[in-house]
């Protein structure tokens, strides 16, 4: 299954307030951008033309992989406000 179909299976209560923000200057010069490849929900995209890293916090599974792998201080990462974010039904 591709990742779009996978994340479709999971429910989210979307907050208009993002719980992850990226620092575009730091992320532009990052030499690994492990977040892009390691995020299990494919939340991060790096645009090669504009050299900008973007994050779709709305489909974040709140696992913290990017938070642990980012060693450049490029991410401002916290849990969403109470009641928002991923909501597992079974699992």
């Amino acid at each position: 299954m591709n990742i779009e179909d996978l994340t479709q299976l999971t429910q989210f209560q979307i907050d208009e307030q993002p719980h992850i923000t990226v620092n575009k200057d730091i992320c532009r010069s990052c030499d690994h951008r492990a977040c892009v490849q390691a995020c299990p929900a494919n939340c991060y995209t790096f645009n090669e033309e504009t050299k900008l890293l973007s994050v779709v916090y709305e489909s974040c599974l709140e696992c913290g992989t990017c938070y642990v792998l980012c060693d450049k201080g490029g991410l401002d990462w916290s849990y969403p406000r109470g009641g928002y974010g991923v909501g597992y039904r079974l699992t």
């Binding site: 996978l6 999971t10 390691a38 709140e62 969403p80 597992y88 079974l90």
Partner: protein
């Protein structure tokens, strides 16, 4: 405006809820602060609730009342290479009668039920509340603040049971710097299948369940796969070390898809309905990576305390979490009786953990965390095993060798003598 409690528990997972239950039964004024809309909604694990003495003691009839799936009767350990799989199956009549050795469960259902038991015993539960910071006062943690809300919650003691990333531990200065090699990522897909199909494919009857662990199922990464059977669904996924995920340059979901396509797995999960996709981190640093477990006014429990271990065969966390929650609660009860919330008083918590199986097991297998960093354990050794088995069974006119000679040749060819000796030492020290 502040509200006062004897104990604030951050996180209504298994550690937090059992701590709350114990404290409430002791007549203390306790509150659980949970960021989800209900307990369990943020929680995910592979699938197995291990038999845990503190759970049996506090809720002796949980077997009848808790939302459980199958009891685990069949244990399979499989060594996987891209084209083969060598497995050891253990079935035991004793695992088929109470007290069962473990159940598969859904965390959103089980954690919710467990928290509700604490509430029934008199604990308060505040949902939709993300703890933001600890309040430091007179040199100790004296409460917490909540994200996006005014006011504070104050207490004599805080128990941080807020999971693997524990921001409460960080704010209290207890959290160790995360190392990618000490973190496992679990990704999981829940696949719906009719009960009869599951029973047939996994050779199960009645409420029997299977737990299959695969070593070397994650491509070039250090990691493995798992399958747990529920009544009408199967949990299938991978656990990989974060550093090797990063180094591989591959995505977790592509690797999961590859695992699902392996010839020995594909037939087990074909024509299934995908139900849910989830991911979570696992603290896998073991005993040597444990953070300080307490300081003035605060104790860490469960994943927040890094209480989890794997030795390649066992992977345990939820039983350690629940036990630590109860031991933290016992410590809090004594501290409150003595009116002493200092680190010196809470040091009893560490002693209790050392005396229980929690730190005894983690200590016993403390070298295993290093062993699990051996790339060859996940790549070369499954290939050695598969190579031996293939030569044992293949009939093509090539003269056969006795087992030992065959094994020696395979191992020397695929690993080499120097590495073989070094690995033998490391694996031996970890497991034997």
């Amino acid at each position: 405006m502040a509200k006062y409690f004897d104990v604030i528990i951050v996180g209504a997972g298994p550690a937090g809820s059992l701590a709350a239950l114990k404290l409430a039964r002791a007549g203390l004024n306790v509150i659980m602060v949970e960021r989800g809309s209900h307990p369990g909604v943020k929680n995910m694990f592979g699938g197995l609730l291990h038999n845990t003495p503190v759970l049996n003691e506090l809720l002796p009839d949980f077997h009848e009342r808790a939302p459980l799936e199958r009891h685990v009767y069949k244990k399979v350990l499989a060594f996987m290479t891209p084209e083969s799989s060598v497995s050891l199956t253990f079935e035991n009549e004793n695992f088929d009668k109470p007290p069962y050795n473990g159940y598969t469960v859904f965390r959103p259902a089980f954690d919710r039920w467990l928290a509700d038991e604490a509430v029934k015993a008199g604990a308060l539960l505040l949902t939709d509340c993300t703890a933001e910071n600890v309040i430091n006062e007179h040199g100790r943690v004296a409460g917490i603040t909540v994200k996006g809300r005014e006011g504070e919650l104050r207490s004599k003691i805080v128990i941080a049971a807020d999971g693997v990333l524990s921001f409460m531990a960080e704010k209290a200065g207890l959290r160790q710097d995360f190392k990618a090699e000490n973190m496992g990522m679990g990704v999981k897909l829940l696949l719906g299948m009719p009960e009869a199909v599951i029973n047939e494919r996994f050779h199960l009857v009645r409420d029997q369940g299977a737990d299959i662990s695969f070593l070397g199922a994650a491509g070039d990464m250090r990691g493995g796969g798992f399958i747990y059977t529920n009544y009408e669904s199967v949990s299938i996924g991978l656990v990989v070390h974060l550093d090797s995920l990063k180094d591989s340059g591959r995505t977790p979901y592509d690797t999961l898809n590859e695992f699902l396509q392996h010839s020995s797995v594909r037939k087990l999960v074909k024509v299934a309905t995908p139900l849910e996709y989830s991911a979570h981190l696992i603290p896998e640093g073991g005993y040597n990576a444990l953070p300080p477990l307490y300081t003035d006014g605060i104790m860490l429990a469960g994943d927040a305390a890094g209480l989890c271990y794997t030795n390649g065969i066992n992977l345990e966390g939820i039983n350690l979490a629940m036990t630590s929650g109860v031991l933290a609660a016992e410590t809090a009860i004594e501290a409150i009786r003595e009116n002493d919330y200092t680190a010196r008083s809470l040091a009893v918590y560490r002693k209790k953990l050392e005396q229980s199986f929690v730190l005894k097991d983690m200590k016993e297998f403390k070298s295993a965390a290093g062993m699990m960093h051996l790339e060859r354990l996940f790549r070369s050794y499954p290939q050695v095993l598969a190579g031996i088995m293939e030569k044992v069974y293949r009939t093509d006119g090539t003269p056969r060798s006795k087992l030992l000679r065959l094994a020696r040749r395979e191992a020397l060819q695929k690993v080499g003598l120097t590495d073989l000796i070094a690995d033998g030492f490391k694996i031996g020290r970890s497991l034997l």
